[in-house]
Symmetry: D2
Subunit: 347 residues, 4 copies
């Protein structure tokens, strides 16, 4: 069957995720970018403001106009900061026009959103029409409005999915120590992102208060309903890209590393983007940076009965733009790897 | 009382810890370095091989000779790799000559050493004559042979001491996620320490097998005897110096962050090198790099009942050479801060 | 016209350049990799030794056998260290089989090679059958054996080409201060590549002795015959990838920044991989890392009459594997951008 | 002779240089800090705002009041941004009260300041009462108001002094390629100092327009009057601290590396902070970071007749606070090394 090129609009194109969509979609053979929009909502040649795009994109940003987008494009990506898309998407949802939202605005219930994002949520009726879609577990019954998971949530959920789906987690002891690079902190100029403060440093931030906590918990509950809380902290480390999850969990029943490793291998056997490391080895961040892979490794401690799960992703790709494209591939019936067959730089 | 200058010998001076002893002792007013020895055991002007020492040290390395050292010096530091000092120290111990050993050779029982270091241990009779001395909890009854704690052990023990000393730890759930820079991996050329492999990367190594595990457990047991095991993993992060400990623990009894914070504050009130952060704030690595401080902060999660303890040190100073000097100050009756009043570089 | 897939063999696949060829060729639609060979010359699943290739390559290294390669493949890449290909290529040259050599073995005359590489050169008769091909100035008359330029040479030559081709360089004052990341120093474990020595440091190495000096001089002479010598130094900076050339040159005649900028723009107008920055702006490394671009900017000093030319490339792509693929595209009549339409990561 | 403790005031204490003064002066035995002042001019416990100072300084910032400072202190340091001290120092100069100004406000003539800083200069009469003091060439005839040199100027002038003082520089070809870390760019939040933009990147900035150019030229002219212009560019490299100067110069007369090396060695023989590297070796940044040293090395190219001079300093110490303290030591008759006997961290 001949594939048809789909036309794509991007809102929030000058944020890190928007620029990453531009970068990745360049190599998707069946995508044409037809309109791009920035927050300032003015017109500029994108390649003038962003020299790395010179000669690759001749397109100009234009003011955001939902009707125009729906006429021109087949799908719109929102790569806006949290708090933006919730006020912009209603016309698209009303028209059943495909939307993939990379922000946190539609990942939580209105109540949770208000509590964790400290902002006014979208109306619950809008939220109800969206689907939270971890792309590697995409289900065809989803609506046209996809809430793309958060970066830490993606890495954590992929680390825990096999055991949560089998109800193996001891609900009292789910500890996630997450480490992430500076691109996760976004483009705005803050004390934390000043080179002098980030370089040669490690800082824990938002202890017990990270907005991805309810997103992770809610999805875990879908797999293993008795789960109530997770212990989740994030630390900023001096790298540009990458998330490294160290999850420490106890299990509900006696088992062995062998059995667990088989469980992970079988869960992810048909998932092209999840690579379970050979027994006895753990992944590092560099082997996934620049790719849409999530690599996962296990270590079991006979003394403490704790299972250590390490999961690594590129936060800008698997944790944002890449997963969004994977979700788009699902929505439009493309092979889910299209445009995403990327290998990490070894050196 | 007029203080007397003490004469110092250093064995293993060209390793990272030995060079750090040279650097720090330069600013100790009551220390004179009288002899230095390297593993290769040949003579060289130290400042020729190490240009950063040019014009600061005119001393030459000489072959290792215990009798000569005991004639010339008042104390000897062993800054050798593990497996070296155990074969060299007998004459010093026999003579009750002061030794501070920065290596792991005398921190464990012979049995534990064999299990965790995979090397032949020192005779248990020699081990019995040494004292493991966490310098901030130095006790005057120690012998003249001090086993200086390991870097990760120091940061972890200082994080847990106040609650372990009050028997508050739930022994089943003591989880330590440690992150450390490359200086901790030593000077030898390995795949892991190649810039290309370390930079822009995070790697977990020796999962459940780090040789500091028994060292930590043994000391915790002295404080809270029912402790059996800890869950302890270390990850390599791309910085030169620094350790960042994220400890996740449950407590034996209901308590509050307020009470815990007071416990930490009171435990460390008279300890000049331990700084407990104000309630609600956590320390970062940069505020201690270049110093002998251990900075500690707390966060309590009402949902999971987990207490997060963050502790940060400079692995080369508080975790090695600085603590060794602090122990030396104790041994010789100097103020423990002498030569160690260091402030971190802000920029 | 339907394009035909070409079959590729890679010798030296486990070095940085070989792994980069594997990475980039994955996204070349008309390439199939049919055989790979490492220096150790034994068989291994490449994806087992290099986890970042897991699920992307199922191929196994096999012993090097020229006849077999010529039967199976349409072209062979040598991504070996200097001193290797010179002893292996004779059968390919004899058979007029296409070869692209990424090493320095065939870039210089036998005499220059001996002087600058301190190794026995290939026979001059073999050297005479090769073509040094700066891919952006590829000329169809080249033979089948292409010597791919060195990374520093590429960045320097592209910086100077427009003025050298117009004989504008004052031959007495051609000063190139080059800065490069650690991937340029290769995979072997050296003191210089230890993280502790490279991080937070800058080191000038091989002052006046870099082996790319004769390569640059020889090519400049082809453009502007009166050139005799260049002043060329390289410094190692703590980044993984990238070269930053600061060239300081005087010109033979009075001119203006305007005129020079037009000269650069017109020289590179039809060259898809060379991007001349708008007048008044200079490129940085990040805008080309991950791409085959060379970005060039100019600044002119009215007081000193020196023109500053900044040129930046990704040493592993434009300076090695990418340029080799560009040369391959030329050889086989593909569009030169095929497989190389890459955009830099902004974050 | 018993030395007397001097009392110090610091204006602009919360900038990078001010904080560095606090850090270094802690280990100056004959200094007591009696008052500190920030730009915001309000009162705060400095150790509360800057946790790295906790337990080291109990002092509080107070509003700036010249009369009060002159009553309390023996000297005042201005560690303010450019454009601040010029409006504040008149009362001190009028009273012949010792001032060391780390900013650029009094390093240039009023005319040059206006041209290069694009700000209104101090009155020329005030400027005339100040002394620009490169501390290693301090002359006792200086006034009480010292303009402390800029960081790039210091590293460049120390690189060129021996040959300029002997009038050996070919005035047409003085090329300085300077590289510096992020602390030199200051504390304010800018696009350039965002970690994502600085890390894994190199950027040339202020090409031909750096405000240290006239400062360097003016001092060179004092040594070698025929010098008119220098070619000087700076590039930002991803390190916290350090300046690496690559100077490329031609000489007025035929000479040899041997002769030049002896010239450097003899010029700096009695200067405790200038270390000339052995012939054939060049310094790197790490060997001086954390110290007040400037390390200098030479390489001579027989083909091009260019002499390469590499000079490295810690921009925050030798390039700012350390040199200011060295100047203070001169002013008050202390040994110039007092408080500055610092060794670089090797690891």
């Amino acid at each position: 069957m001949a594939l048809k090129v789909i036309k794509v609009a991007i809102v929030g194109v000058t944020g890190y995720s928007g620029l990453e969509l531009l970068r990745l979609l360049k190599n998707h053979r069946y995508v044409e970018i037809v309109s791009i929009h920035n927050t300032a909502n003015h017109s500029q040649m994108i390649a003038e403001a962003y020299p790395h795009l010179k000669s690759m994109y001749k397109i100009t940003t234009t003011p955001f106009d939902p009707l125009h987008i729906m006429q021109e494009a087949d799908i719109v990506f929102f790569a806006t900061s949290s708090g933006v898309s919730k006020d912009l998407v209603a016309p698209f949802i009303a028209a059943h026009f495909p939307v993939i939202d990379l922000s946190g605005d539609f990942r939580l219930s209105a109540e949770d959103y208000a509590s964790w994002y400290h902002k006014t949520p979208a109306p619950q009726t809008l939220i109800d029409q969206t689907t939270y879609s971890l792309a590697d577990f995409y289900s065809a019954s989803t609506t046209n409005y996809i809430a793309n998971p958060g970066c830490y949530a993606t890495a954590t959920l992929l680390a825990l999915a096999p055991i949560a789906q089998h109800h193996l987690l001891d609900k009292h002891n789910i500890i996630i120590d997450a480490k992430g690079g500076l691109s996760g902190a976004g483009k705005s100029l803050t004390t934390a992102s000043h080179f002098i403060n980030a370089n040669e440093n490690v800082t824990m931030y938002k202890a017990n208060q990270h907005q991805h906590i309810p997103e992770i918990t809610r999805q875990l509950q879908k797999w293993q309903p008795n789960i109530e809380h997770i212990q989740f902290n994030t630390s900023l480390i001096p790298i540009n890209r990458g998330i490294f999850i160290s999850a420490y969990v106890k299990l509900n029943e006696d088992t062995s590393l062998d059995v667990l490793h088989r469980l992970y291998t079988s869960t992810y056997y048909q998932k092209p983007f999840i690579r379970v490391m050979p027994e006895g080895t753990l992944p590092n961040i560099k082997q996934v940076v620049g790719t849409n892979f999530a690599d996962i490794g296990l270590a079991y401690n006979q003394d403490t009965k704790y299972l250590t799960i390490v999961s690594v992703i590129d936060n800008m790709i698997k944790g944002a733009a890449g997963q969004a494209i994977q979700n788009m591939n699902h929505l439009f019936g493309f092979d889910e790897t299209m445009g995403l067959e990327l290998i990490a730089q070894y050196a």
